[in-house]
């Protein structure tokens, strides 16, 4: 006697149905392709994976804002007469899901580019695939350093300032201004934190011994109190805070509360006045130094700035559910403009190859939400968008830029 045959019968039927469904779906997709190649309805199909669910859901707002942005572009006539068709799907911050979804976007939906897939793990998982398929992995939303490799991976280009570069700027600055510093660093135990540490030591050069204490945390830790106590106990007088917003706020507050008063450097990831410094306590954040490249939406000094006014108007009109104090929304807005710029430069030749060529051919592009003096420049051998940074110090209400615009190299 075997397993009840009814199971297997049903299984066969359901699978056949599934096949039938996916066949018809394919047919539909095929039909669309036929249309896509026809000159009349030549839409530009952009794919994207975003963590709309899972541990990184906070960044889902990037995809939502960009959906609204491309809708607005389409309403005003599209790009060179073409509409943008933006397919943004959930990958739950899971690499296998990202692979599955990107394959769907590329093979089933015939996406021209994959724009701003988010997260180092997801991007690492689709890196090879997209380059083999010669589909641009355009402006990855991660600061890992490996996206700048035009020799081996010509179809991948990053967007964020990469963590190694940012860490190096802090290192150089400390080596120059505080040659006798004793540095304690708190970092997230993953590539993001480790890249920073590498950059910092790189920037310190022969002064790498200045780092007297390193403490890590996991995203699953409820607090970083213990780590702050360790850093204080090490006698460090300089604190490099390489943490995501929640932990940054905890660390700033805790350091103050236990009476540790080092010179503090805060990574750009958490440099938001509204969502980090305010929860931590503005008085406790006094004197912090960070690196910036775009304008903080909660910073009073940009209240009447034209670029930020434009952004705020967009937010209230097109994306009212978005958070006006979240810097991620400014970031997403800049990235969307950069894509539109690339597509404009493509003219009538909207092919994957040309998109990549134009992405590596941005000259002095400066969306109005970037800090004054910061411009996007790329070249066939230079896949780094931002090679200039600005140091800024917190004066209790806003970030005050100081010194020259610095080169990361």
């Amino acid at each position: 006697m075997h397993k009840p045959s009814s199971h297997w019968t049903l299984l066969v039927i359901t699978t056949l149905l599934a096949v039938a469904c996916s066949r018809s779906e394919q047919g539909a997709a095929g039909g669309d392709n036929a249309k896509a190649t026809a000159p009349v309805a030549s839409a530009i199909r952009i794919g994207q994976t975003m963590p709309y669910s899972g541990p990184a859901s906070a960044y889902g707002t990037i995809g939502k804002l960009q959906t609204a942005y491309f809708k607005k572009i389409n309403q005003s006539g599209g790009i060179n007469g073409r509409k943008i068709e933006f397919l943004t799907v959930d990958d739950a911050y899971s690499p296998p899901k990202a692979v599955e979804q990107v394959r769907k976007l590329v093979e089933q939906d015939n996406a021209l580019v994959i724009f701003q897939p988010l997260g180092t793990p997801s991007n690492a998982a689709i890196h090879k695939y997209l380059n083999t398929k010669k589909i641009p992995q355009l402006f990855t939303a991660t600061g890992a350093s490996q996206w700048n490799d035009p020799e081996n991976f010509p179809y991948t280009i990053g967007f964020n300032i990469n963590y190694v570069d940012e860490g190096r700027v802090y290192g150089k600055y400390i080596a120059e201004k505080q040659p006798n510093a004793k540095i304690g660093i708190l970092y997230q135990n993953d590539d993001y934190g480790k890249d920073y540490l590498k950059g910092l030591k790189d920037g310190l050069g022969n002064k790498a011994k200045l780092v007297v204490a390193e403490a890590t945390y996991e995203v699953s830790d409820p607090t970083v109190d213990s780590q702050i106590a360790t850093l204080k106990g090490s006698g460090a007088d300089t604190f490099l805070n390489v943490t995501t917003p929640k932990f940054a706020a905890q660390a700033i507050r805790r350091a103050y509360d236990i009476g540790w008063k080092p010179t503090q450097y805060l990574n750009n990831v958490s440099a938001s006045v509204g969502s980090v410094l305010t929860p931590a306590g503005l008085d406790k954040a006094m004197g912090l130094v960070t690196i910036a490249y775009y304008k903080d939406p909660t910073d009073k000094q940009w209240e009447n700035d034209a670029g930020m006014k434009e952004w705020r108007e967009f937010m209230t009109k097109e994306y009212p559910e978005g958070n006006l104090s979240d810097g991620t929304n400014v970031y997403a807005y800049i990235a969307a403009q950069t894509l539109v710029q690339v597509l404009r430069q493509c003219g009538d030749q909207v092919t994957s190859e040309n998109v990549m060529k134009q992405a590596a051919n941005l000259k002095d592009f400066a969306p109005a939400q970037l800090l004054p003096g910061i411009k996007i420049n790329t070249g066939p051998k230079d896949y780094v968008l931002f090679d200039q940074l600005q140091l800024a110090r917190f004066d209790g209400t806003s970030w005050v830029p100081f010194g020259q615009v610095l080169s990361v190299l």
């Binding site: 297997w8 066949r23 793990p121």
Partner: protein
């Protein structure tokens, strides 16, 4: 286990012949299907197969054995990393890595099962919960990073079809996984039908009576753990080869939860339930994501609860019931094994 189900169907006209025909149809379909579908769909079906193997492994432990595991994603990860490390650092052929992953996980599962099988269900839930949460962190540990690649993980190349077969890599991998699945399902069926299977179920339902009849309860429990981990580890290895990537974030706690969801939704203590559960955890999250970008997991959660309400003994149980009704067996049939036992009730059988 089998006898109860089959007794309900014993009166079917020609059960043997029907079963054979259906099985044949299934095999024919499984072989022809990939030629009708796009590579992307074939890839998805491959993932379904991978999940089905993992679910069968967990079902052996939790469904049949009554030991709850909230951390089977860890064994999936160990299998995946075994395969990836062997391929990346030792240039071992991908197909050899699959049995290797199975052996490693058999060992790991057995060793974990030794102390764990001493724990009452709630404490076992904690121990496995802890395993599921800490393994991704261990993978990032400084001293193993050289092997595991840290957060960047390891990227693999997709194997080509051998012997010049006219198959795309996706089709080849599908058939490869299908063959492994066939082997493992047949193995499980054999195991559960025999002495070992009866002992496993006896330990779940009447542990003290089982011990009294001379079954070495502790050894059987850890062995079940080992075999279960082996299945899940083999699935992990196949999954790594299919996805071409392993990284700590691939094996978050959500994976362990998904596996648990899969076996309950598919049907506890059923072999076919593994396939239904695999279809559910593969396709329903995508469906939820298509419905809502704002709160996809809320949709998933609602669907999940709905399925539990509608089919308390899983999809396999519901189909059984349906088949009985359609076959004119509306009279009170012996309840399916699933609803009769209450396997692994956290905290409920403290007398």
């Amino acid at each position: 286990m089998q006898s109860e189900n089959s007794s309900a169907l014993a009166t079917l006209a020609h059960p043997q012949r029907t079963a054979r025909l259906v099985l044949l149809a299934l095999i024919v379909f499984a072989c022809v299907g990939p030629f009708l579908l796009s590579d992307y769909r074939v890839f998805q079906l491959t993932l379904v197969i991978v999940h089905a193997i993992a679910l069968l492994g967990l079902n052996l432990l939790t469904g049949y054995g009554g030991q709850i595991s909230l951390g089977h994603g860890a064994f999936y990860a160990i299998g995946a990393y075994t395969a990836a490390i062997l391929i990346e650092h030792f240039h071992v052929a991908y197909w050899i890595t699959v049995p290797c992953a199975g052996m490693v996980c058999l060992g790991a599962g057995f060793l974990f099962g030794l102390p764990a099988s001493r724990l009452e269900n709630l404490y076992l839930a904690l121990a496995t919960f802890a395993l599921g949460v800490s393994l991704p962190q261990i993978l990032k540990y400084r001293h193993v990073e050289h092997w595991t690649g840290g957060v960047q993980g390891i990227t693999l190349t997709k194997p080509e079809a051998p012997f010049g077969l006219p198959l795309s890599p996706d089709q080849w991998l599908y058939f490869f996984c299908l063959a492994v699945m066939g082997l493992l399902f047949a193995g499980a069926w054999n195991l559960l039908r025999g002495h070992a299977g009866r002992a496993i179920v006896a330990i779940r339902d009447r542990p003290i009576a089982a011990a009294a009849t001379g079954i070495d309860v502790a050894r059987y429990k850890s062995l079940t753990f080992g075999v279960s981990a082996m299945y899940t580890g083999i699935a992990g290895a196949l999954g790594a080869i299919a996805v071409q990537f392993v990284g700590p974030d691939s094996f978050s706690f959500f994976l362990s939860l998904s596996l648990l969801v899969g076996i309950v939704v598919g049907g506890l203590s059923t072999i076919s339930g593994a396939v239904y559960g695999a279809l559910f955890i593969q396709f329903v999250p995508n469906l939820a994501g298509d419905i809502s970008k704002a709160a996809p997991l809320a949709i998933y959660g609602v669907l999940l609860i709905a399925v539990v309400y509608a089919m308390p003994s899983g999809i396999a149980g519901a189909i059984d019931k349906l088949a009985r009704r359609l076959g004119g067996f509306g009279r009170s049939t012996p309840p399916a094994s699933v609803s009769k036992h209450r396997p692994s009730q956290p905290g409920r059988n403290h007398a």
